[in-house]
């Protein structure tokens, strides 16, 4: 089963993205925790594209595609701007240090890599694309 969604680069659309993923996964009787993990991973990547790659420029847009088969959920998030955004390898954050520093950010991509089985960022032409996969059996 496949679905697609296009959103403008505003964090106001994050709720729409999460509802889109939840609706797509609702066709299967998956545990609530598993559904939430996929929703969270997509939300984190989309938020990064909106905020860090596009500076919340609402004239830019993202395309999401979901493909659910018997064993896996596969997600593609494509940034249609010409900004290349390729997050590097993420070390385990020192959360005690984050607390000491009063730091707000820096955990999103760590979460994504722990939640999903495969996380890839690459360029397609002038655009950045992210592929996420998770086994759901």
């Amino acid at each position: 089963m496949k679905s697609a969604l296009r959103i403008a680069c505003s964090r106001r659309h994050l709720q729409q993205v999460r509802d889109f993923v939840r609706n797509h996964l609702s066709s299967r009787q998956l545990p609530e925790v598993t559904v939430n993990q996929v929703v969270l991973a997509v939300d984190e990547v989309v938020a990064n594209f909106i905020i860090h790659a596009n500076g919340e420029d609402e004239t830019q847009f993202l395309d999401l595609k979901l493909d659910l088969n018997d064993h896996d959920i596969n997600v593609e998030i494509a940034d249609n701007s010409n900004t290349v955004y390729l997050p590097g390898q993420h070390q385990s954050p020192d959360l005690s240090e984050y607390i000491r520093q009063g730091r707000k950010g820096g955990m999103g991509m760590t979460l994504v890599t722990r939640l999903m089985d495969r996380v890839e960022f690459f360029t397609r032409g002038n655009h950045t694309v992210c592929h996420l996969s998770k086994h759901i059996l």
Binding site: R11, S96, R100
Partner: protein, 109 residues
Amino acid sequence: MKVTAQPTADTLTLLLDGELDASSAIVLDTELAKPDILDYRKVLIDCTKLSYISSAGLGVFISHLQRFQDANVKLVFFNMQEKVFNVFEILGLDALMTIVPSATEAEAA
């Protein structure tokens, strides 16, 4: 995301209702940043109706925790849904924050 404050003599309970993400985290941040919150001995976070949290929401709690600790204000989460607790667990935040099952245990913490 709706945040409702219920103050008593030495405890402030914040009821979170909805989804805490990069868009709504500012609502909670504003509440936790209020200077008079440090006048309480304890801040209890009622998570009964918190149905989602992203790293932006977690970041709000992390960013205020040291300030609370320095002022001897205890931050305690209770009634957290399994899917929300799972997010704290994945990052190891369950070991760094006080998360208890019920309001009774939160009051006793």
